[in-house]
Subunit: 367 residues, 2 copies
Amino acid sequence: MTHKKIMILGGGQLARMMAMEAFKLGWTPYILSNSHEDPAAQVSLEWVHWDGQDPEPLKYVASLVDHIFFESEFIDPDLIKDILGEEQNKCSPSLELMKEFRDRQTQKQSFLDHDLPSSKLHNTEASVLKSLIEQNKKLVLKKRLFGYDGYGTFFLNSQDDLDSIKESLDSYICEEHIAFTHELAVTYFCFQSQISRLPLVETHQRDSRCLWVKGPSSFENLESFKDLDTKLRAFLKTKKYHGAITFELFLTSDSKLLINELAPRVHNSAHYSLDALPLNQFKAHILCHENFNTPETLSCAEDFAMVNLLGTGESPQNINSFSDTHLHWYAKSENRKGRKMGHLTLLGDDQEKCLELGLKLIGEPIS
Amino acid sequence: MTHKKIMILGGGQLARMMAMEAFKLGWTPYILSNSHEDPAAQVSLEWVHWDGQDPEPLKYVASLVDHIFFESEFIDPDLIKDILGEEQNKCSPSLELMKEFRDRQTQKQSFLDHDLPSSKLHNTEASVLKSLIEQNKKLVLKKRLFGYDGYGTFFLNSQDDLDSIKESLDSYICEEHIAFTHELAVTYFCFQSQISRLPLVETHQRDSRCLWVKGPSSFENLESFKDLDTKLRAFLKTKKYHGAITFELFLTSDSKLLINELAPRVHNSAHYSLDALPLNQFKAHILCHENFNTPETLSCAEDFAMVNLLGTGESPQNINSFSDTHLHWYAKSENRKGRKMGHLTLLGDDQEKCLELGLKLIGEPIS
């Protein structure tokens, strides 16, 4: 492994944690973001202002670095492609895959093409949706681009709902709503020659925003998960994917697993890997071009839980100080209610106890 | 716990790892060092050039921050005191303690005053040393200031040795040489209200430079260690010490423990705590002014070993890539033979196996 320079497009907590893992490897991360107060901007001397449009900073830094990584799917792959020219080969994932995966329509199509189980996709023509509503189908509309943490997701229950969104139906996909019993997530690390899987985890969302994660999940033993694991590995191999990728899953009462969506990057549900494993998702993501020798499945020495520290709207936010938890505070300049401000990881013999302690520390009732 | 700003004087790996722990807490670390290529300079947007003398940068940053920390004892406490004026109260450890501990003469005197076991101290008058040499006493000379990794330490075996150093005897202390069977180290974290101890570890030096550390050491069960632990806690309480502090120990064949020296800061022998514990030494050091509630003794869920990655003189240095070790590479601009360039931590059921794997990875014969 040699010293590498990398560019990270984005200034949020995911970029911040990637940069810090780059430092552990002795690498130099260049952060491109819009404000020097951004979480990731603070942690690197090599911060470069980028407004998201100006070609110059992007071109210049791209010429200096070995690899280019993205914090989110909110970038415009066509714009980046135009700016980078031949340097676009430095991007991971490739701009083609980013384009395919960032749009929920093409992402979903990709699942269908590879026989990956997911909820039924409906045509978003108004007449089709009208008829489905009349049949009392439970439907979900999701924005094709820029959705996150539940923003851009709506239930479609009535003609009124449909009327209110009629003008912009093109920018949504429509899926059958899944009555799940559990939400799960699984992350893969794809290197040049090898694919490793993290333990399956259970996630819990409130108001569509992740509140906690615990694992390893005993649902790993389901036949349906073993099947899915095989299919996902084949999918990633075919796609020649490089880096960390997370699949959010629904588990139904008849033990079926359906893919909700994928995130072609590091993901909140695998933050625990920072503290529970020598090979965490941020390190794995930036190491994706190395010839890494890792086991098919990575296992944690201990059970774990992760709880998100959501904004209270009050700055500074009071965080209890405790010696037995791993605190990661993202130092966001604006503390908005419900915003992901940080997270805690708890390790131990029993994931339920880890979660209980985590919820207690953040003042959440234990359900 | 509120958002804090801290100043770290120094740009090496210890400052780098402190800064990265500050970021995890959401704090802002200001790094003062002589080059923007320094290991710690790279990891913070808030790097300020300081030549080690100029009062202005120090004064300015001191006025911005809540606390001031030192990477090493190589700073001049009198100079810092003059520059900082009242802001000197922000320093941890206090400049008085830094002054006492950085000089091996006053450090040793402190051990004697507090009935802490250590090797016999001899007067460094030439006539005294001459007579001791004639009695075939085994003697060690240590530079009072600026010694590290064996630099500044000499054996004094003959009249010739004595003649060669006669002119500068004032700048040394002379100790009886200890025929130890093992070298051990113990680190304490001192907070506002509480003292916590890390597991006792065994250390191995080659050419006076730390090659590896493993633990927890079963020598913790020695009566002599229990006695020493009690004395050290009393010593730290009396001294009103704040932050991490490490005592390097000699174990003799009759199970006696003697203090070799102390380091009033984070220390190589406790680097493993970064990966083996939620409360590592870098985090504990900067949190020393918090009202922290920690157990008397911190325990690790797993056994551990740490191996130093010493410079080969070749840059870039080839590091094997492996998924089951925690790599910390310091990104020093100059790769000198034997220089501490990085370290690896290995966790597992069995510290001997961890160490074996670590030594194998760095290409060292397993003794």
